[in-house]
């Protein structure tokens, strides 16, 4: 399951296959991203992670919700870990460590499109996860307190 999750997250973050090196690093450092079992077992935490594992679009929808309403969730922690690994791994480091070059207009258009896609995914995330979040005892209207 960890290897499959690693592959999905690598595609989501960097459009790249998770190399054996990345998979090994992810498996090795995964325990450092863990949260207390009381948090891990909450319905919203389990739902975010389960949905995110289904594919890159599902990951983006779950992440889009988690960013605003469960920012310190297990899903966000695992994605941040994956990002940290990818930015330091051969093959993916160039994409993440470089910037877009070109005209201000061209870069600006890409920025706007990126923002629109993110907003749409976050709205979809609210539709899917807000009811689950409410059922699991969290407020969907306010960010989570620090665990």
């Amino acid at each position: 399951m960890v290897a499959a999750e690693c592959r999905v997250f690598a595609h989501y973050l960097a459009d790249t296959e998770a190399s054996p090196y990345v998979q090994h690093a992810y498996g090795k450092l995964l325990p450092t991203s863990d949260v207390p079992s009381a948090v891990r077992d909450r319905l919203i935490e389990r739902a975010l992670l389960s949905v995110a594992r289904q594919g890159t679009l599902a990951t983006r929808v779950a992440d889009g919700y988690a960013r605003f309403f469960v920012p310190r969730s297990l899903l966000r922690r695992r994605l941040v870990l994956m990002l940290a690994i990818l930015e330091n791994s051969p093959g993916s480091e160039k994409l993440l460590n470089s910037g877009d070059e070109g005209s201000l207009v061209g870069v600006g258009v890409r920025l706007v499109l990126t923002g629109i896609a993110s907003v749409l995914c976050s709205v979809l995330g609210v539709v899917i996860f807000a009811p689950l979040h409410l059922v699991s005892g969290g407020s969907a209207a306010q960010p989570e307190p620090l665990h």
Binding site: L13, A25, V80, L83, E93, S118
Partner: protein, 539 residues
């Protein structure tokens, strides 16, 4: 000549020791002395490290993932990397109990300055008006230290706040973004100065643009934060190396100084330390003793000495620390330009903001984003991570952070004391209790507001909600617990650094500063230690 015992190998210890050696004294330095690891792939750039190291994740994130910055309410935009962990490793038996502050300690060879960004800013006459020494007393020592460490600087608008010295060298070349900010400042200079009291200049940095002794000029590798393999960025470790070549210098690593013993009249008779490997007690005799272990650790040694001599747990009021605020900003004009990760990573620009009271002068440095660990930044953006990565890539060339520093004053309620732990060794832990100045929030708001307005005037955009006040203690500019004073006290020292209570004990680190200006204090610490050593009695 005297036998001088120096405690600590940080910025003050090494310059005190080297000056004492140059004046003919015999010097023994006691130090825990955590060693820096050898640099990996010395000629490789930041990007090349990731491609060429056998385990780049292990190097950049650490074997236990200690370099991963996870989401939290206090997550910083950057932290100290695993390659610098040796700087902050605490020896067993050195315990602290902190209130409203998260101080950092170092027991590395070279001390906390092993992990600094090289900012060196001489105090001016206003800053030193709260001292029992004048700028004229300090000027020669500043120049001595400047020649030793190599400071890059030019004459500019900051000279009226930060004295310039002819010993300064050519600064490092600008990166593209810093050059743009510099040019824009000069186009709008009158308005910036008149409306916001904002003055911009080149950073004064102890980073070499050309070779100096064994140290090489900056190779533009982009590895400053992880440890410059060229030794272009000064570290006290380099001055320690000079001391080690001296025939009258003895370096004793692997010992943690616990306290000193003193007799009738207060004169220190010997230092008591503990070997790190065997935990055996060792004693060291001398004629003169210098505490240079850093303001907090030196203070603990004095408190422990008093406690073991008299049974009294004393308190040292006046603890100071510069509050730091990070103000990230975007320069739209830079968007779409190329980012050169293989370039000097730290700040090229410094600024000052004037206040009605000159002692409230605000100091800051601007670091444009070149090579960096990006996951702490990306996760803070208000989008999902994929969208944040896309936005970050689009904006990257225009990103920078202004690091705003505020001055601090001594207050009775900010203090250091001890708590007895009991046990066979009668050990203690250091209690660090910082009490915030009630007026500081207003000063902070005013300073940050001025900086934001100035950045706006320069054509930069400060995104709302991203300014971060760093946790108290992050600056590692600690000072004030055994201040220089003309008025004798049990825990004060004279202008010559000599303890009023112990005639052969010298306080040469930040503990002796009676006021903490906003400017990074390390240069002044080194210069003051040099000045004190120049005044040591010859017999």
């Amino acid at each position: 000549m005297s036998r001088v015992i120096v405690v600590g190998s940080g910025a003050t210890g090494v310059h005190f020791a080297l000056t004492a050696l140059e004046r003919g004294h015999d010097v023994t330095m006691l130090d825990v002395g955590n060693e820096r690891p050898a640099p990996v792939l010395p000629g490789a750039t930041y990007d090349e490290l990731k491609a060429q190291l056998p385990d780049p994740v292990g190097y950049f994130l650490g074997a236990r993932g200690e370099g991963v910055v996870y989401p939290s309410t206090s997550a910083s935009y950057y932290g100290h990397p695993p390659s610098k962990q040796y700087v902050f490793d605490i020896p067993r038996g050195f315990d602290t109990n902190t209130i409203a502050m998260s101080p950092r300690f170092s027991f590395a060879r070279g001390g906390l300055a092993e992990a600094w960004t090289g900012g060196v800013y001489a105090y001016n006459r206003d800053d030193l008006s709260a001292y029992p020494v004048s700028y004229d007393d300090m000027r020669r020592s500043y120049a001595t230290v400047s020649r030793r460490i190599g400071i890059g600087a030019v004459r500019d608008d900051l000279e009226q706040f930060i004295p310039f010295d002819e010993s300064y060298r050519a600064p490092l070349p600008f990166d593209t973004h810093s050059q743009w900010l510099w040019d824009r400042y000069h186009k709008r200079r009158d308005k910036l100065q008149r409306a916001h009291g904002f003055f911009l200049g080149r950073s004064r940095v102890a980073s070499l643009s050309s070779d100096l002794g064994e140290r090489k000029g900056c190779g533009q590798l982009g590895r400053c934060l992880w440890g410059c393999p060229n030794e272009s960025i000064y570290s006290p470790f380099h001055t320690l190396r000079e001391c080690l070549a001296h025939p009258r210098f003895t370096y004793v690593p692997g010992v943690l100084v616990r306290h000193f013993e003193y007799g009738e009249g207060g004169a220190v008779t010997r230092i008591v330390a503990r070997r790190m490997d065997t935990h055996e007690a060792v004693t060291v005799d001398g004629d003169l003793f210098a505490l240079a272990a850093g303001a907090l650790t030196s203070s603990k040694i004095v408190l422990d000495s008093t406690y073991r001599h008299s049974g009294k747990i004393a308190a040292l009021p006046g603890l100071m620390d510069n509050l730091q605020i990070h103000v990230p900003f975007l320069t739209p004009a830079m968007i779409g330009t190329r980012v050169h990760t293989a370039s000097y990573q730290f700040h090229h620009l410094a600024f000052g903001v004037t206040r009605p009271d000159p002692l409230d002068y605000v100091h800051g440095q601007i670091t444009t984003l070149k090579s960096a660990s990006i996951h702490p930044i990306v996760q803070s953006l208000p989008l999902d991570l994929r969208g944040s990565i896309g936005s970050f890539r689009a904006l990257r060339a225009g990103l920078a952070v202004a690091n705003v520093n505020l001055a601090d004053r001594r207050r009775e309620a900010s203090l250091l004391t001890l708590r007895a732990k009991g046990g066979a060794d009668n050990d203690t832990e250091l209690v660090v209790h910082y009490s915030e100045d009630a007026a500081e929030p207003a000063r902070m708001d005013s300073a940050v507001s001025s900086v934001k307005k100035a950045l706006g005037t320069m054509g930069c955009f400060v995104p709302p909600g991203m300014t971060r006040v760093l946790p108290r203690g992050t600056s590692v500019h600690y000072a004030g617990t055994m201040p220089m004073s003309h008025t004798p006290g049990e825990f004060t020292c004279g202008p010559d650094g000599r303890s009023h209570a112990h005639g052969n004990l010298y306080i040469v680190d930040g503990a002796s500063l009676p006021f903490l200006p906003a400017k990074n204090h390390t240069f002044t610490l080194m210069a003051n230690a040099t000045r004190v050593a120049e005044g040591l009695p010859r017999t």
